[in-house]
């Protein structure tokens, strides 16, 4: 089967050409990438936002990913390029997370870039309010959930490190966090602690 049909790039290294790569036509490629942009840009930004947790950085990385995609000499079926786009974006996100360490968060920059939105302040107020209700409802959960969330959100520890510290598996810690997040979301949607408990917490 043609690897392009599987949506999978045949080579791991994006800089090496595959033996069966066709020489793509530059204008075709541009058209296909424009189509990709129209159809998948929101999804790509959503993906990057989840990875780097910063909206402006996500937009920058998405742009970077398209640029790199344009530079690639690859077969240009849309399914193929789509998979590649997300792979490039994923790698860019990893690089960005790694290089972060000493760098200050782009909050100040965010402000300058986004200040054309007049509703920015209002969004911030809503976000702060949601966050405060999130932390409020987290108090209602057993300690293991609270600990996992605090260690991840506030102390910025990876789930692997949290798992090592709690003597649980990485998978379990991710489940604690997903359960706690679901629980808090349901509480924010107006459910009682009992209802949210039943729906959100999976069994140990």
């Amino acid at each position: 089967m043609d690897p392009a049909l599987l949506g999978l790039p045949p080579c791991a290294d994006e800089h090496k050409d595959c033996p069966d790569a066709r020489e793509p036509d530059a204008t075709d490629r541009r058209a296909v990438i424009e189509q990709l942009f129209r159809e998948h840009n929101q999804l790509l930004i959503r993906f990057l936002e989840a990875r780097v947790e910063n909206c402006q950085e996500a937009k920058d990385l998405a742009q970077e990913a398209y640029v790199r995609l344009l530079e690639l000499e690859r077969p240009d079926t849309i399914g193929f390029l789509r998979a590649y786009l997300f792979r490039i974006a994923g790698n860019l996100a990893i690089d960005r997370l790694r290089s972060r360490g000493a760098r200050h968060r782009g909050d100040v920059l965010d402000f300058f870039v986004d200040n054309e939105h007049s509703d920015r302040v209002e969004q911030e107020v809503v976000a702060a309010e949601q966050a405060s209700r999130f932390w409020e409802s987290l108090h209602e959960l057993p300690r293991r959930y609270r600990q996992a969330v605090v260690m991840n959100r506030i102390q910025d520890l990876s789930t692997q490190v949290i798992a090592a510290s709690m003597g649980k598996t990485d998978r379990t810690v991710r489940r604690y966090i997903a359960d706690a997040l679901t629980y808090c979301r349901l509480r924010l949607l107006g459910q009682t602690p009992e209802e949210a408990n039943v729906r959100a917490l999976t069994n140990d």
Partner: protein, 355 residues
Amino acid sequence: MTSSHADQERSREAAEWLIRLSCSTPSEEDVRAWSNWCESDPQNTEAFETLAALWRASKQYPPSAQAVTALLAPDGEPARIDGFWAKQRPWRNWGNPLRMKIAYALLAFGVLVAAALVLRLRLPGWHATQSESISSERAQQSAVVLEDGSRVDLGGRSAVEVDYTRKQRLLTLLSGEAYFQDKQITSWPFVVTAANVEVVAIGTAFDVEKSKDQVAVSVVDGTVDVSVHGRTAIASREAQGATAPNEGAVFRLKAGEKLAVSVTGLVHFYLIAKESAIAWREGRLEFFDASLSDVVESINRYAKRPLVIEDPSIASKRFTGTVFLSSIDEWIDSLPTVFRVTVDRSQPDVIALGR
């Protein structure tokens, strides 16, 4: 406002996708499955967006330092009384009747133990005064049993000053690391200080390590109260001091918990395997999310040739793992791979680490 079961299920799925994408490196399979899920129903996309925004907001707007302390409190503790943690002392925290009974029982037991000790050791009174300094050399470990039967184990190149007065048993960790076992349950508080950190304990076992950057307290048995003097803030590595700073704070630690207080007053909380804090007594240094500079400082209390960090940019690299004291050299050899640092053995008396 209520939501349908479908909405609730959607929230759960969205949370699972979000955590899969953000807390690990997603495979291409994951990304494809996730994008299919998003595109199969606009409501899925919306649920994901809302949840991702909430998740980001929770990081951007963390709770106060006090709320964080409460969130880390054990189940069943009064979790949300502001200022509670900053005022209580264990021997005054016996508000409810059950605790009162336990308190009396423990006190009675303590009196018996103390009486037994007094008789056995023929001390003039069980509030004996004692003052001495104990220390150990590089790569040497030593243990001292004090007059009241409590025991101090010193790690390599460490020093403790003992000052027992009639009011309290005060020990000061001047440098290095020590493991304190206070077997007495009395109202004669056992207090260990190290820099701006004070540990108050009764009948417990805990380890304190002091480096130039931080003081770490790990509880092996029982409960201790750790007071931090000066400004403190619950640490968030990305935005230092993002949570509201406290002026002096008391943290209650149970067995298996560790608190690290940096010189700047940032407080990190960890859960640890109890034995890992005192693994050094068995020839292992176990590190957990420690900075390379702290790791180097601990190892230098044992290593023949001290390590020096020549490039400050590598000092804050984090390390989680075990170093065997019998094979420190092998660990140093592994540094270029583990930390991407260079190891330079050309100088006669130090081993230089660079980038």
